[in-house]
Amino acid sequence: MTTTLANRRRPERAGGPEKGRPARRGGSSSSRPGFVWALPATIFFGLFALVPLVAVAVLSFTSWSGLGDPKFVGLKNWEALFEDPVMLQSLWLSLLFIALGIITQTPLSILLGVWAAGNQKNRAILSAIYFVPLLLSSAAISVLWRALLDPNFGIPGQLSWLFGDGNLLGTQTGAIAVLIFVGMWQFTPFHTLIYQGAARQIPPVLYQAASIDGAGTVRQFFSITLPQLKNSIITSVILMVVGGLTTFETVLILTNGGPGTGTTITAFHMYQEAFRRFDFGTGSAIALVLVVISTAISFAVVRVSGYDKMRSSMEGL
């Protein structure tokens, strides 16, 4: 432990070799790369994440329409935000979208990923077809589904026994269902890819041992595959949570936050306040709320799952 600590600190010291810094070459050094190595990433992160974050934090205390200079208004935006019924509703909607997204996408992408990790006949071709949505932009996907779901000339118009009058986007339930479905269509391939990669890493000896012990396919899946995929599941869920909180294009194009405010999730609400009402102060306040919530959720998931301990699923192998 002490060695690691010393190693980690070492490059930060400005002193140079005479202060006890071992020569860098030699190859025997097991030291980790130092802070300098992280500098490019840190600068980019600072410029494109931290700086805007600070600017947004400042803006959230101002009133600004994009014209002229921002006017400092203290806590006014924040007070209004807590009394805004749309804001509260949008938070619940966002959580609902995340929950439904995880529930629908995770099982499907685990099954598909594990299947795609195998070496069956036709697997490569079917997988390639299945990954097509990954190549399309969200905007294209939304426009596509918008046209496919037209109540008079799209799929609902042909299947009236299933969709009734086809007013899918006219009811809150229908609109949410459409967004969840399109999200599933769009993002499952990505998570499938994660699980495919992870499933390929599972050592075959585990399965060989299990089948000697008489475990069938189902038992193997639940006793070996799933536990081995634990870290990938956590990664995938975190990505879904953060992605879900920032889902925006599909809502903008498919439902426009409607019917009424029925699908106005927090990210869309932020866009609407900032770029349609030109109230950048309120928009910034909502953005900060999003940052706080997504950070908190990510931390919570990492903590609860033990991901922060970085325990390998391959220990003892």
Binding site: G66, P259, G260
Partner: protein
């Protein structure tokens, strides 16, 4: 600890530096000197009509040292983009707008050049246009916009074949006739009126006409001036009641919230005969024409919005986009070039080009070119409507400043789908 302090200081220092740079960028001089040399940028609402704008710019560039560049911005997000760049060094020199509320906040922020000096030099810049149209871009007595493109009144379009098959000989002249037609079409299993409520602004057109016919143009003007009590008036409630009656009668079917105009859904309903009517701006014609020219020429019918018995508004009043305008940014580097470009907006070439693609400019010389229009009959009908209209109300979402748009559009769509009642609508409008 010291080491960590070094890291923290570096990050903090870097952040401060970057923040400083960003801030400098934001507040950087947006004055004339920082703009490109010999270039004028025109921010333009991007759509099929851009061919004409480009042609006029090419004509201008052929003789001018200062070249004009057309920056097309996708229509739906035009206003958002414009407001985001207006007060930055990348602001356009000339920008497309709808006059009225769409430029009010720019004028208040002192970003728009009053054109009165240009007009003094060249009175044609004002006199060549119909006065009622020119007025839309006059704010506090100063002219801020020169009309371009054309006027776009909202009319009641119909599929004449559907009406004939249902035994309806004429488009409805009165509200009662409209209700009757709705019933006839509904009984035949046809959606009486196509409505792209997914876009929300087509719904708003119904409110604009009902309020104008029932209460007269004064009500909305008062509301715009800040007297929100008018929304509670008896006439306001009457108009809302009539709209509710129309929706409840099944005039728009049941799935209008899932239909859009912009993706071609509601025009297709009308063209395919699945619907009898559609209330839409005059661009319905060019939309249908680009899909099926024969349908536009032979089957597509049009009429004025029906009159309402006992209403205070004149039956010839119009609502819609009175016109589009070009305005000039105050910080432009070449005001003279901008002026010379604006002079093209009343030229014969401009009018001819616009008329040929179905637009209807509102210049005094328009009338003599109407015979060359894509459909002369339609062009003349429209031109006379505008000329004879005692009042031409700019669409509510353009008359109010852009920040009010979300509230208005949400309220009208919620009222149509039954999520809010009369009181809810009144409350929403009073919040503006």
């Amino acid at each position: 600890m010291n080491n960590h302090g070094w890291v923290a200081r570096t990050i903090a220092g870097g952040a401060a530096l970057a923040l400083g740079l960003t801030m400098a960028g934001c507040s950087g001089e947006s004055g004339a000197s920082s703009r490109p040399e010999n270039e004028l940028h025109v921010a333009m609402y991007g759509d099929a009509g851009n061919v004409v704008e480009q042609k006029m710019i090419d004509a201008f560039n052929a003789t001018s040292e200062v070249k004009i560049v057309l920056d097309k911005i996708p229509g739906g997000e035009y206003q958002s983009k414009l407001q985001t760049i207006m007060d930055t060094p990348t602001a356009p020199d000339i920008f497309f707008n709808w006059g009225g509320g769409s430029i009010k906040s720019f004028v208040d922020a002192d970003l728009v050049l009053p054109l009165d000096d240009f007009i003094k030099e060249d009175p044609q810049l004002k006199d060549a246009f119909l006065p009622s149209v020119f007025e839309t871009a006059v704010i506090d007595g100063k002219a801020y916009g020169i009309p371009m493109r054309g006027t776009q009144p909202v009319m009641l379009f119909n599929n004449s074949k559907v009406l004939a098959d249902a035994g309806i000989s004429n488009p409805p002249a009165t509200w009662d006739e409209l209700l009757e037609d709705v019933k006839i079409l509904k009984d035949k299993g046809i959606t009486p009126i196509a409505l792209g409520a997914g876009d929300r602004w087509p719904t708003l057109m119904w409110f604009e006409y009902l309020y104008d016919r029932v209460a007269g143009e004064g009500l909305f003007q008062k509301a715009l001036e800040g007297d929100t009590s008018v929304w509670e008036s008896e006439e306001s409630r009457k108009a809302l009641g009539m709209l509710r009656e129309l929706v409840d009668a099944g005039a728009f079917g049941t799935n209008f919230d899932s239909v859009k105009f912009t993706d071609g859904g509601s025009p297709a309903l009308l063209a395919s005969g699945k619907a009898g009517f559609e209330l839409m701006g005059s661009w319905e014609y060019s939309t249908q024409q680009s899909n099926d020219a024969t349908f536009a020429a032979e089957v597509l019918g049009y009429s004025e919005f029906p009159k309402i018995d006992g209403g205070k508004g004149n039956e010839d009043n119009l609502v819609g986009n009175t016109n589009n305008f070009y305005s000039v940014h105050k910080n432009t580097r070449y005001p003279e070039a901008a002026r010379d470009f604006l002079k093209l907006m009343y030229s014969d070439q401009f009018v001819q080009e616009q008329v040929a693609i179905g637009n209807l400019p509102t210049t005094t010389n328009t009338e003599k070119f109407l015979d060359k229009a894509a459909d002369p009959e339609y062009a003349k009908y429209q031109f006379n409507l505008v000329k004879e209209a005692p009042s031409f109300q700019l669409s509510w979402d353009q008359a109010y400043p852009p920040e009010a748009t979300v509230t208005i559009l949400t309220a009208v769509s919620q009222f149509f789908s039954g999520q809010i009642d009369e009181d809810g609508f009144i409350k929403a409008m009073q919040s503006l």
